[in-house]
Amino acid sequence: MSYLFYPGCSLEGTARDFHLSTMAVAKALGLELPELPGWICCGSTAAHQTDPLLALALPAKNLAAANGETVAVCCAACYSRLKAANHEIARDAKVRRQVADIIGADYDGRTPVRHLLEILARDIGPEKIAAEVKRPLTGLRAVCYYGCLLSRPPEVTNFDDAENPMLMDRVVAACGAEALDWPHKTECCGASYSITDVGIVESLTREILTMAKAVGADCIVTACPLCQLNLDMRQKDVEAKFGESYGLPVFYFTQVLGLALGLEPKSLGLSSLVVDPMALVARL
């Protein structure tokens, strides 16, 4: 199985461990992810808040370069922007023409975009993953946190149920861990307000962390660089600000899967996590 991989900017910066663990897991599963040559930023929130055509042109520029091959994505924000561009361009001839004029190529909006969770849970499948597990994560009580942009809006991403997605839960369960049912799977973490208005992020992550603790989780599993950063790097600040105590490691799903596949913590970038997961990992 092979997909053209669009890492996105975060995977080269704050989420380098997401990148590392993705590549390690892909290799272990025989999944080929050659990088899309010369990829550029999707424009993220800054583009769609500022300039609607630029917000479509940047993803379209990347997707046109894929020449119709299926593009695999890890970052939920990139996924959302690539999917939104496909949605707008494929259904509106005028938009397609405008974007073509901007990027200098007629892109039809039909290059398939798959999140790595879709590839794992749908294309490979939990049974096949379970068969590859070398070290079942028995006793690990995880909550899967999807954040906003994988499942919303559903007519654009067509990812999974918008209110109760299950793809990550299935992957985590295939690893031998318990994926707990909880109500905050798709609540918002505050995203890039981490920089512009951190109070928003602190109050929203507090609710997510509190609920994870309340349902008895001993870790949170994420699929988005901003979600991970907000829940992990700001956890101590949130504990101090609100007088709470969480101590919840916040993994990427690829790190959890990698552990189950028997890969070394180092090859999964676990040392990049701010809330130290090693005591939990040692217990498994």
Partner: protein, 188 residues
């Protein structure tokens, strides 16, 4: 008893303008407030999401372009996903942000437009995000040197930051792309 309200032409123009820029289907809003119920930031905003829609319908240009709420929306898409009428407050807010900037009505407290500008300038120049450069510019412009001062050494230690900027070919082509998008009427 229903009462008919006749909007002045300027007000009707405003509704049409927001709708053209957003395709948010604003006329369909029934004021059920489901968007507000699910909104993660409604409690802190100066206007609730469904109130912003109503004010747009009534052509209250200054009230909506000058509100804080549009700069606190996280674009989480919960409103658009749950609306029984297919209205997208998230799409409306994108259009209102652009119109607010074009009209010089941006509320003083927000740092979002500055952040967005630095972000877009960075990717126009480099092709990809450069977090160290972005944060440095943002801190210089906001003169806010102390918040998160503890985070930088920690992020460096954890390997979360690249000191050197990314290198991606095609700078001239990128500049053209941004310029064409701007001229096509995206950026106001």
């Amino acid at each position: 008893m229903s009462k008919t309200v006749q909007l002045a032409d300027a007000a009707a123009d405003f509704v049409a303008e927001v709708e053209r820029a957003s395709a948010a289907n604003l006329a369909a809003c029934l004021q059920c407030a489901k968007c507000t119920s699910g909104c993660p930031v409604a409690a802190r905003g100066d206007l609730k999401p469904h109130v912003v829609v109503r004010l747009v319908q009534l052509g209250q240009r200054d009230a909506v372009l000058g509100c804080r709420t549009i700069w606190e929306c996280t674009s989480c898409q919960t409103c658009a996903t749950r609306c029984p009428q297919g209205v997208s407050v998230a799409a409306m807010n994108d259009a209102l942000r652009q119109m607010s900037r074009a009209a010089g009505k941006v509320v003083a407290e927000t740092r979002v437009p500055l952040f967005n500008d630095i972000f877009l300038r960075t990717i126009r120049r480099l092709g990809r995000m450069y977090e160290v450069g972005l944060m440095t510019s943002f801190k210089l412009r906001t003169r806010d040197f102390f918040s998160d001062a503890d985070k930088v050494p920690m992020m460096l230690k954890k390997g979360k930051l690249s000191i050197l900027p990314p290198r991606v070919a095609g700078k001239g082509e990128r500049k053209q792309l941004f310029e064409r998008a701007r001229r096509a009427g995206g950026a106001k």
